[in-house]
């Protein structure tokens, strides 16, 4: 009862390799170089121009108390580094959410998860700033995590009821609006002078980042990255759907919980430090996948992180320098580039899937 499916049975040479995806080496090289160049350029440019040689000298000597050294070490380097770290974290967080929902149009911002974190942080800041001069970053991260967990829980509940991704997206955007409304309400009625910062923060900004903040953020995001790499194998299997993943031995309940926790931890950390930064989490993984043409998590995880870092540093550079001395919010710039990508995804989705 066997029929040959094809006329001839001889396999063409090299057919058995999974070599369809391009080799990622040129991608990693290009993105790394671009990232390094942009970071150097970003540290050097601004109202006070600092030449690359000078930057190198300051970084190597560890600061000499000069104005240039203070600008580099206290203001610009923390900002650029945080843009890189948090950009990578956001992109990775989006990638994990996309695996979780089995859909490329998922991300911490569009699903309202960043907004949930934002509201929780705003609430904690207003309550605590009344009594203390400074709120420890650990408290903010925890608050952001709680907020994003609540918003994620909401979205997961909705996703059980609506199968359609577009409806889920609408639910996410609406819950995002709801959270933003609450945040704005809190800001309007809080009259502390420090609250002014809150408004800037709620639009997303890497300004005012300290080296300590960068270190804490890098630690949390680094942990998230390592955990994601450990999840690479089940991620690969889960891409074929829940039933198939279960049938090859993936512990679905544990895996889904791990996925959403790591994703939430990453986006909460970013939100706590820099506020909600839109669209990086959805646009970067999409573009990375398209360029690399692979689904292999062990390639995509580092690629997405690197590309997210580069994208965020670029957007921050634009935010700082495009209309200097006026500065744009980072969210303004990322929306400008990210939203069209999402529209493009929605429009081309059918063909993309087929």
């Amino acid at each position: 009862m066997t029929l040959p499916e094809h006329g001839q049975l001889k396999a063409p040479a090299g057919a058995e390799g999974n070599g369809r995806g391009r080799t990622p080496v040129p991608f990693f090289a290009c993105v790394s170089l671009t990232l390094a160049f942009m970071m150097a350029f970003s540290v050097g440019s601004g109202s006070v121009r600092i030449l690359p040689g000078e930057i190198l000298r300051i970084l190597l000597s560890g600061g000499d108390g000069s104005a240039a050294s203070d600008i580099v070490l206290l203001i610009r380097a923390p900002r650029v580094l945080s843009a890189a770290v948090f950009g990578g974290a956001l992109a990775l967080s989006g990638y994990l959410l996309q695996i979780f929902f089995g859909n490329p149009i998922a991300g911490p911002f569009v699903l309202g998860i960043s907004s949930g974190a934002k509201t929780a942080v705003a609430l904690v800041m207003i309550v605590l700033l009344g009594s203390y001069r400074q709120v420890p970053s650990a408290v903010l991260v925890l608050a952001a995590f709680a907020g994003s967990a609540a918003a994620t829980g909401f979205i997961i509940l909705v996703s059980r009821r609506v199968r359609h991704m577009a409806s889920l997206l609408v639910a996410g955007i609406m819950s995002g609006y709801l959270c933003s409304a609450v945040t704005e309400f809190l800001i309007t009625f809080a009259d502390d002078a420090d609250i002014v910062n809150l408004h800037a923060w709620s639009e997303g900004s890497f300004a005012g980042m300290t080296m300590d903040g960068v270190k804490t953020g890098a630690l949390i995001c680094g942990a998230g990255f390592l955990l994601s790499v450990l999840l690479a194998k089940p991620i690969g299997a889960y891409q074929m759907g829940e039933r198939y993943a279960r049938s090859v031995g993936v512990n679905i309940r544990f895996f889904r919980a791990a996925l959403i926790l790591v994703s939430g931890m990453l986006s909460a950390c970013v939100t706590a430090f820099a506020g909600p930064v839109s669209f990086i989490g959805i646009a970067v993984p999409f573009l990375t996948r398209r360029i690399l043409k692979t689904q292999e998590p062990l390639v995509l995880i580092p690629a997405v992180v690197l590309a997210g870092a580069a994208a965020c540093v670029a957007c921050d550079l634009i935010a700082r320098t495009a209309f200097a001395p006026l500065e744009l919010y980072i969210g303004t710039v990322t929306s400008l580039f990210g939203a069209p990508v999402v529209i493009f995804m929605l429009v081309t989705r059918r063909r993309e899937a087929g």
Binding site: H6, G249, L292
Partner: protein
């Protein structure tokens, strides 16, 4: 970590199993023994509970009562990774696999054997390639899974299950939505694999004809219960298949394994003289046009007879290997004259025709009521 698949022969036993979603059980008191080296086919109407039985065997759905044993171990007690080496599952789902190639999709079956990061060893790759050869999909190995045909997709998913090297394979409607050639190719590869490795294969199917051909053992499922089970010769019979699917009596044809429409009823308007299966296309055409007709005279061993019994309003039959009784011949002649139109697939000039049938054709010719096919359509 052992890389070889578990080649132990496992018998799957369900004793008094009930399971379902939410409160109401979808399947009730299922008792079934599934032998290794045998292909068991679950048949029954949509929503009967075939998929639920498969999900319960796979451990996806816990049994609310009764026990499912893989070998001697209850399925719920087997750890995920161990279970993945004993039972593979193929569903009707067509996952959105993006940039995964057919090779990548098939290689997902090696998951229970790879290390912490899921990298494939040379041995793993060889096993995937071999599985793709078994389903004759080696040439599409490098193509994107999303871009190949449904039949090819299903072959690749079967290769995935094959390289998972499990002694128990569960397949939920593997042949649905495939064209006939793809169905044969898929089921052929599956049965070859099962025979070679003594695999316990359980699949659900809607195609009763193919089910009869591939099954070593058939199980009829209706309303969450097993109506009957047995070897195909016991199961693929009118008295079992018709009530199983709620078919009107006489519509299932055990010879072809499929269903026939009922012929038009009423006073015959046309008389068909045929034999040897040549009358079947004519009878089907008359059925489509809703023309009631009489058929005869057919010997009881004629290939046309089972179809005439379903499709004709009136059939004249006679015992084979002897002369047709006079009264039968006379009754047929009367019926023919009453119809007023006669059509025949026989050609007495060029091929031998039984003498009394030949005289019937001559009588029609003499009366000027013998029509050619062209005149009729």
């Amino acid at each position: 970590m052992s890389k070889a698949g578990d080649r132990t022969a496992y018998t799957v036993t369900l004793s008094d199993v009930s399971a379902g979603y939410g409160g109401e059980p979808k399947i009730r008191r299922i008792t079934l023994t599934l032998q290794p080296g045998r292909i068991t086919v679950l048949i029954g109407p949509n929503g009967a509970g075939k998929s639920t039985i498969l999900r319960t065997i796979a451990g996806e759905l816990p049994a609310s009562a009764g026990a499912v044993l893989i070998g001697s171990a209850p399925v719920a007690s087997i750890p995920g990774r161990e279970l993945a080496r004993r039972v593979s599952v193929t569903t009707t789902e067509r996952p959105d696999t993006g940039y995964m190639t057919c090779f990548d999709v098939a290689a997902a079956g090696r998951y229970p054997y790879t290390g912490a990061f899921g990298r494939l060893s040379a041995e793993d790759r060889e096993k995937v390639a071999e599985a793709l050869r078994t389903v004759r999909a080696e040439e599409i190995s490098g193509r994107l899974f999303m871009e190949v045909s449904d039949g090819q997709k299903q072959n690749v998913l079967l290769a995935r299950a094959i390289c998972q090297e499990t002694p128990v394979m569960l397949l939920d409607e593997p042949a649905s939505y495939l064209d006939i050639r793809s169905k044969l190719s898929l089921l052929g590869a599956l049965s070859a694999h099962a025979r070679r490795y003594g695999t316990c294969v359980v699949l659900s199917m809607h195609e009763t004809d193919l089910a009869e051909r591939i099954a070593d053992f058939a199980v009829c499922v209706k309303d969450g219960e097993i109506l009957s089970s047995g070897v195909p010769a016991e199961i693929f019979r009118q008295e079992i298949i018709e009530p199983l699917y709620g078919l009107p009596e006489g519509s299932y044809d055990p010879l072809s394994g499929t269903c026939e429409f009922r012929g038009a009823e009423g006073k015959p308007e046309l008389f068909l003289i045929s034999s040897g299966g040549r009358g079947v296309p004519v009878m089907r055409e008359l059925q489509r046009r809703g023309i009631p007709f009489a058929a005869g005279i057919l010997f009881e061993n004629d290939a046309d007879l089972p179809y005439a019994k379903r499709l004709a309003a009136k059939v004249f039959t006679a015992a084979p290997f002897r002369d047709i009784p006079e009264e039968t011949a006379a009754a047929a002649l009367d019926a023919m004259e009453a119809c007023g139109r006669v059509i025949t697939t026989e050609d007495p000039e060029n091929a031998p025709v039984q003498a009394q049938v030949a005289s019937l054709i001559r009588a029609a010719e003499d009366r000027g009521i013998l029509k050619s096919m062209e005149e009729l359509w």
